[in-house]
Subunit: 127 residues, 2 copies
């Protein structure tokens, strides 16, 4: 019953810092987004239910919207895809999206670096 303690405390502190109550639903959603970055609300619901089975879809929508407004989560909306969420909010990275399978990959901004586009592999379907 002590797994995820570190992460939970960190998220709880962030919620309190924003004047929000620390609820198991918010912690479950935050943990789920952290475990599955670039996921849509539906997948976040499924992932969060593994640790909080009674969570509802509507709560996930509300929590995701609220935490996004607080900048604790970031939402992005690729065309022809539901909105995706991630916990990485401290920087301004880009997203490379595979046109064939929709997989998303973070691409760091190269501020202060020369852009180094070397071909190290492909971004092709993994499913």
């Amino acid at each position: 019953m002590m797994e995820h303690f570190d992460g939970q405390e960190a998220w709880a502190a962030a919620l309190r810092a924003h004047g929000r109550r620390v609820t198991k639903q918010r912690l479950a959603v935050l943990a789920a987004v952290e475990r599955h970055p670039h996921s849509p609300a539906e997948s976040i619901l499924a992932a969060a239910r593994s640790e909080l089975p009674e969570l509802t879809a509507q709560s996930v929508y509300v929590v995701l919207g609220d935490l996004t407004d607080l900048h604790m989560l970031r939402r992005f909306e690729p065309p022809h895809s539901p909105a995706l969420y991630e916990t990485r909010v401290g920087d301004n990275h880009h997203h490379a999206i595979c046109i064939s399978c929709g997989r998303v990959e973070d691409v760091d901004c190269a501020v202060g670096h020369a852009p180094a586009l070397r071909r190290t592999g492909t971004l092709m379907p993994s499913r």
Copy 2:
């Protein structure tokens, strides 16, 4: 009963050139998009019904999709907006979208010209 004759004949010829049958539904949709560029399917339906009242929404969706596939119409999908359609398909212009009212303005590509961004007015809400 002879109004729109020129446009109708031109559209009819284009449809035949693509091996499509010339129907009053297609002509009504094409005329509506021409009269109201940058419009969503719902507005196109309303506009087309002024000359063909028995037209249904589903036919408009089918016709718009088919004519878009033929490149007789162009579809573009701004975020948080339904798909918009226009008849201007021969070039590769851009769209400036007002973040406050959603109004869309064509912006020509300046290939072969120096970009000349002079402030001639605003792109603010008209409603």
